[in-house]
Symmetry: C2
Subunit: 240 residues, 2 copies
Amino acid sequence: MSDPDGERTSVTQRAVDRIKAMISTGEVGPGERLPTERDLSARLGVSRSSMREAIRALTTLGVLESRHGAGVYVTALRPADLLETFSVLAEVSQGRTLLEVLQVRRMLEPAATALAAARAGAEDLDRIGALLDRMEGGPDVLCDDTVTADLGFHQAIVASTGNATLAAINDGLSSHTFNARVWAGHREAGLTAELREDHRRIHEALVARDPEAARAVATTHVLRVERWLGAELAEGTTEG
Amino acid sequence: MSDPDGERTSVTQRAVDRIKAMISTGEVGPGERLPTERDLSARLGVSRSSMREAIRALTTLGVLESRHGAGVYVTALRPADLLETFSVLAEVSQGRTLLEVLQVRRMLEPAATALAAARAGAEDLDRIGALLDRMEGGPDVLCDDTVTADLGFHQAIVASTGNATLAAINDGLSSHTFNARVWAGHREAGLTAELREDHRRIHEALVARDPEAARAVATTHVLRVERWLGAELAEGTTEG
DNA sequence: CACACGAAAGTAGTCCGACCACTCCTGAGG
DNA sequence: CCTCAGGAGTGGTCGGACTACTTTCGTGTG
């Protein structure tokens, strides 16, 4: 009867925790190489299979990086490394969750754009301007490149705030497939001009170094997309 | 998708993509059970070991859930499921990244608190009030419970916005250990009164259903913590 | 001596088969 | 009808063998 509720953690989970601990205590630092899978499994007293699953879990989290034939390394542990998994949200989100994501972006993007207006360097503005031109390249053709440029445009803005964590989170809230839907939807409604106008005004506010204007235009932009999505969701009844 | 000449992806990664595709196409929906590991590995032509690693990766991402002896299930795919890994960021962040995290919270929490002031229901306000009382319970003792109540206080507020995605993200940006540091630091400086005052005023703004006041107080609160962290980091010369 | 090349050692990736631990269903017994 | 023991099915763990890749180092050539 000695405490039947004892530790139920699986062998693999314990291995995950041990490796995490090795990193927390500084036994292995960012960029450094771990012992081999065989060494680790022997040292922790687990099979290599379980150790591999543990490594796979930490690899998925962005904490470790496996290089075939070379070894297992700790990543730089930068926000971008750890938030790569974040994109899964935007990938699988549908319906109501997509609206929630946009609502979060309505909180972040205006603030981020305002910050960018204050902080962006000359080369940042150049890159943003180039992406703007690329977006306006094909007047009516909604090629994949337009969507990609749109995505890059917003990412470049957020990146120019100098806050890598913010940039990583915002990236995770955006997805290529969703952006493609937005452009296609606006094209059907003949509203692509509004989207382009938003982007142009955002760029103007940035080069003018006008945070308040940047915030206002960014808000307008996200709200426009949000309203469109709301209408889109209201139409289709079958939204998984 | 079609990569005719490449095909450099690992077997396990292909298995991950296949399972993801099964979910995207609706072949298996949220909450449903997948075929057994043995079935899946046979169907996709990979070994059970590789299939297990693929399942482990998707389990880590919060997409799948393995139940010993029962089977592998697709999660509800709620934001909270998919963003559970997000907390790793707050766990391992130090120094500069911690400041970045706080900067993001300074963008999110004021907007979220304002939204909560408009949307929170009576039971939400009750829960928030109860947590406020719990925080004020021990006058000077900085027991673990105070930190936990503080964490719960902010989580309850964000949750009462009704935006589960926002709540999950905000949770990921908060961590118990960091909160404990904040309380300990403010206690040393004799500034716990300010923290308590912030919380009380946030609660007042919520019950008064005053979004603008809520936004202002929340901003003040995050800024206070941010300024404290900045000073704390400036003291310790050792930068991560 | 400098450099390129190839062999060899070491590493992660994959596969197989066996067994253990747990869950769920079934059917006999009360 | 309910209870509970048993079995079938499932994920969890293990050990070993083999493959594919990377790195290193010694050898040979210029």
